[in-house]
Symmetry: C2
Subunit: 315 residues, 2 copies
């Protein structure tokens, strides 16, 4: 395993992977029209975001919000503004995504036995086999495409409670051995705390080296940014986030699901860690989002409070 | 300066200093009746909170919400449940507080020249003299009482923008030399970021040793808990927080001023860092607060989302 961990730790820049157009839009009832979705995606890429999860390849009957993903992928690709990422839950989805021309696939694999069986009727081990088939297909038809796995419920599960850390790590090792490019850890349930985040990512880097992937944190209990900070301190340099915290829990004001992109970008930029994102343009994209979904509550404290006096955020 | 920094860093426990009854109540329009304030304070101490800022000694014309502070101090003292702390802005306030029988005084001193002049018509240096007089009075009439200074606008100021870090630290040194027991740093404006928090508290410990005091963080831009985590990692073991984030900014949903006690306690307890607080009893105190202020919005994500399945928080 080749890894210059010291080199990673010195890097004062991060990549934000915007997941709102997939994770956010699939969590709300409104269906964003394709034309407006493309305006939003364009505004997000224009702000400097380098990677966007533009949609998912799932049956339209299950998620009508994602029915236009093939078209969205094709259009996004034509701009050549950044990585076009799509979620695929299985081999059929991967085939459709590769046909549409994605740059990168992301596959969710749950570490929780209970969650995995309930959601996809497969054990985590059976999902590893599915991932192996996807990697094989990808290598045959589109070897330039990269494959990421996000291990969901890595920090706990609403069905079974605690998920043993050893199971998360051995699952990550098995997936890396199947040839995926990156394995990240997702706090699907908003259970993570900074000490746990540090323990798990430390082990992930030890076992996977440069294949250790993104931190996908939720803000359900308000710890989203603290958990991102903890992950950063262990060497993580890619963070999933959702503009406006789209896909938030309606029962708790401000209790968004995903970490809010705007607040995460402010935190890193204020720390002197470059995101490559221009904050004003990110706010412009936020306006496009709100105009496209006038009846949805969007979150974020920095957009409301404004950038502090005397701050210069350069992106 | 005697300091066993390694010993501090090893301590897996923190003290939460509840500031809601002062910082929270003075920021809202409603005036909480004394009887209900006492019920709330009792419930907070009963949850295991060891220190509460129960009020401030300021002219009732300026802050009618605090007019009952002498009575509140006397009652709180009679329970003998924990430290009774009160804010005093000047010598007259200190005299009144000592007469009422507080255990501890806290004095705000602004590091920002502009903020200090606008608020108290004194420079920070003139405030150091004021603090010296308060310490002298205290030593004469109540030597067992401890004196804390919270340096406000330590991380930036809405009037002057950036506040030079060297000015913050030299102010802290001057205050420590005047005989105060602890000097803490307050992010009055919600400007702080974790990298800055680490830099400033590291210097504070280097210069002040065991006199380095509490972190008082705001959540204005969503970074409150991340900043507390950063302070913890530098050795801070006392944290100000406000139940329900009382005193929040009404313009931004969820954008409370003070860090929310409930979320901060959850973060530390989940990390295995003991707060001495029983979460269920903290929620009981929250109900007392909400009943006493039925028309005020209170915040906090953990109370809404609940404790994760399989978690045991022992306090």
């Amino acid at each position: 395993m080749i890894l210059n961990y010291n080199e990673i730790m010195k890097r004062q820049q991060v990549q934000i992977s915007e997941v709102g157009p997939r994770d956010g839009l699939q969590s709300i009832k409104s269906i964003m029209p394709t034309e407006q979705k493309l305006l939003w995606l364009k505004a997000l890429y224009d702000s400097g975001i380098q990677e966007i999860e533009v949609g998912s390849f799932v049956p339209p009957k299950l998620l009508p919000q994602m029915a236009d993903t093939p078209e969205v992928v094709r259009q996004s690709k034509s701009w050549q503004l950044g990585t076009v990422l799509a979620l695929v839950p299985n081999l059929q989805g991967a085939q459709a995504a590769l046909e549409a021309g994605v740059d990168k696939l992301t596959i969710p694999v749950s570490a929780s036995q209970a969650h995995s069986l309930a959601n996809v009727r497969k054990t985590p081990q059976e999902m590893v086999e599915q991932v192996a088939q996807i990697v094989k297909l990808k290598n045959e038809v589109a070897p330039h495409v990269s494959v990421e796995v996000g291990i969901s419920t890595a920090f706990g599960c609403t069905l079974q409670g605690q998920v043993p850390e050893s199971e998360v790590i051995s699952l990550a090792v098995a997936l890396a051995n199947m040839g995926v490019n990156e394995v990240g850890l997702s706090d699907t349930t908003g259970y993570a705390n900074p000490a746990q985040v540090k323990r798990l990512f430390k082990q992930l880097f030890q076992e996977l080296g440069s294949k250790a992937g993104a931190a996908h944190m939720h803000n359900t209990r308000g710890l989203g940014l603290a958990n991102c900070l903890a992950a950063y301190e262990e060497g993580v340099r890619t963070f999933d986030a959702s503009q406006g915290g789209l896909g938030g829990c309606p029962y708790a004001p401000g209790a968004s699901g995903n970490v809010v992109t705007e607040d995460l970008v402010f935190m890193f930029e204020a720390m002197g860690v470059s995101t490559g994102i221009q904050f004003e343009k990110l706010l412009a994209a936020r306006k496009v989002l709100q105009a496209a979904l006038p009846n949805e509550q969007i979150y974020g404290m920095t957009p409301e409070a404004g950038i502090p006096k005397g701050f210069e955020l350069n992106g």
